[in-house]
């Protein structure tokens, strides 16, 4: 391994080193029919494959505690608009998650609002369905207001549609959420 590679690992360890190995959940353990918003301070964040890892320090009626979350791959985050540095240790961010089915705290991130106000969604629903009728759509769209900048997620095709929003195909694939936030 070259020196640059070692340096990257050392920096990564310095940033993310933790005695706690986060539990990895599979998609079947999340309830994608529900969407819950969580606001907290970033204690840990890794944009990695196959799933993003996030730990938020949350303080609410139940007290102060760490909540472990996961989400889409680095690749899907990138296509959703995430870029390096958008989420940092100590930032206060809001995420929308599909909660764990067993009722324990945690979930799968489907949309996020960063400390600087950038919003992006990883919700497959934007591409998998074209209606805004489901709970999943409503939840994923909840962080977006008219005029906000938003991205479509899932495949390169979706990104292309966003980049070419003025083309006619826009009306065929873009749902109410994006139209409301694409100003």
């Amino acid at each position: 391994m070259n020196k640059t590679g070692i340096a990257v690992i050392v920096v990564a360890l310095g940033t993310w080193s933790s005695p706690v190995v986060m539990a990895h959940h599979s998609a079947v353990q999340f309830d994608f029919g529900q969407s819950v918003s969580i606001t907290g301070v970033v204690k840990k964040f890794e944009a990695i494959n196959p799933h993003m890892r996030l730990v938020l320090q949350v303080t609410d009626d139940k007290g102060s505690r760490e909540i472990e979350l996961e989400g889409h791959s680095t690749n899907n985050m990138y296509r959703a608009g995430y870029r390096n540095g958008m989420i940092k240790y100590g930032d206060t961010i809001t995420v929308f998650v599909a909660p764990l089915k067993d009722g324990s705290e945690g979930g799968y991130v489907t949309a996020a609002k960063t400390a600087s106000g950038t919003r992006f969604t990883f919700s497959e629903i934007f591409c998998a369905e074209t209606t805004i009728s489901s709970i999943r759509d409503a939840g994923a769209c909840a962080g977006f207001e008219p005029g906000a900048r938003a991205w479509l997620w899932h495949t390169a095709g979706c990104l292309t549609r966003w980049n070419h929003a003025a083309q006619s195909r826009q009306q065929q694939v873009i749902n109410g959420c994006l139209l409301a936030s694409a100003g």
Binding site: L13, V28, Q29, I48, P50, R79, A156, G157
Partner: protein
């Protein structure tokens, strides 16, 4: 004499050009699949990555038992090969690839298919690039050779390993034939159609068929897909802990 010789040379040159043009015409019929492709969906339809209900397949009893045993093992935790950074393998890679795009790089003697998810790569050899059967290494994506039938690329994949961990499970005896051709989508875009037939006497009582459609992404780019970083980081943390404790 010299004039006659010149005429003969001109005739031969013309003949060669005509023959060359004829050969070129045959090659011109072959479409160029080079580019980035993503899952195609008709307007208003979903754009999933080939996921969904498991198809009703004509499985033999022994195959059914093997698949049931595998599912009983992983279903409580929901574990998947992809969750552990393992590529889908054929035919799952060509039928879905997790909803990620793919890139095709086409040369006359080799077509390389890169599926973004897990950086799965298939090398499809043609003509003189075809590897002798005895030298082929079995794997999850097998070994692929191809030939052109007019404007259709016919790809044959063998040398697969047994895989019960994908929707279209198969034994190591499976043989998959894909037929690739271009068509137009509802929005006028280039669409690549792949018709797949899998024959596997060990697992199936009859051939299994499926179709996949890809839409072109003009000037699209695939992203790198690193997946082993977390495992490496955890290993380094363990080494660090061991070094600190002196044990």
């Amino acid at each position: 004499m010299q004039k006659r010789w010149r005429r003969s040379v001109k005739y031969l040159v013309a003949l060669a050009m005509f023959a060359g043009a004829g050969l070129g015409h045959a090659a011109d019929q072959r479409p160029d699949f080079t580019g980035v492709w993503t899952n195609y969906a008709e307007p208003g339809q979903g754009r999933g990555g080939g996921r969904g209900a498991v198809p009703d397949l004509p499985l033999r009893d022994e195959a059914r038992r093997k698949i049931a045993a595998y599912r009983a093992l992983v279903e409580p935790s929901g574990d998947t090969p992809g969750g552990h950074c393992l590529g889908t393998g054929m035919p799952g890679s060509m039928l879905g690839s997790g909803g990620y795009p793919m890139e095709i790089i086409q040369r006359p003697e080799q077509i390389t298919i890169v599926y973004e998810a897990h950086n799965e790569i298939r090398r499809v050899y043609l003509g003189g690039r075809i590897v002798p059967e005895a030298d082929r290494l079995p794997g999850r994506n097998g070994h692929s050779t191809a030939r052109w039938e007019g404007d259709t690329l016919v790809v044959e994949t063998t040398h697969l390993v047994e895989q019960v961990d994908q929707r279209y499970a198969h034994s190591d005896q499976a043989r998959i034939v894909e037929q690739y051709r271009l068509t137009k989508g509802a929005r006028g875009e280039r669409v690549l159609v792949a018709e797949m037939t899998m024959t596997d006497p060990m697992f199936y009582s009859q051939p299994v068929k499926a179709e996949k459609r890809w839409a072109e992404v003009p000037n699209g780019h695939l992203l790198p897909y690193e997946c082993a970083e977390e495992g490496w980081r955890i290993h380094l943390e363990q080494l660090e802990k061991k070094a600190r404790s002196g044990k």
